[in-house]
Amino acid sequence: MSESSYAKKPDDEPDLVLREESAWEAARAQGFDMSLIERNLAMTPWERLLAHDEAIRFAEELRGARRITDA
């Protein structure tokens, strides 16, 4: 092993370099289901808008079904 490998660490060098958290991991840590983002990114922009419409429509249907049950 070369002598330089045993050289003293400079005083200003940190003992541990923390890896900066990625935005992706930060979003996952916030509780977002990132598999939904993966799925969206596999679509074209227009397909994303259509899928969004479909999700909203489905949510409205569920709300309507609940009203019937509650009646």
Partner: protein, 158 residues
Amino acid sequence: MHELTRLMRTLIEAEVEFVLVGGLAAVTHGSSLHTSDIDVCCRFTPENLLRLQEALRPLNPRHRMTPAKLPLELDEQGCRGLRNLYLVTELGVIDCLGEVAGLGDFDKVLADSMMVETAAGRFRVLTIDALIRAKEAMNRPHDRETVSLLRAIKERGA
């Protein structure tokens, strides 16, 4: 009823000059957060607003912020001085903004937009960086959530 894509298509086919902003712009970039309206930044000239009105006419557009939900009935004189239009139609809610917080007026928004080619035609949407700036400027809880997702999407280079 929410048929925001049909509402979008109506604007595209009528050649209304607009840029998609807000939650649906985030969806266009890949966000999984849902929104119940369309936010567009429009050029607030009489020509463009009358074109918008003509496009929406079959959808019974009304001013959703007025207590009586008054019908949209613009004329050239009435267009002058307008800054925003908050409308409800038979296909959903559409907010037409003359400017966007954090970005500025229509020309600034246009400069911060990109063209999207779709099966329904071409339209402009805020770039992901501009959308992040706009959402940061609004800074409501759901805006902050959207920013988190947009940063993640940007990191993926999408």
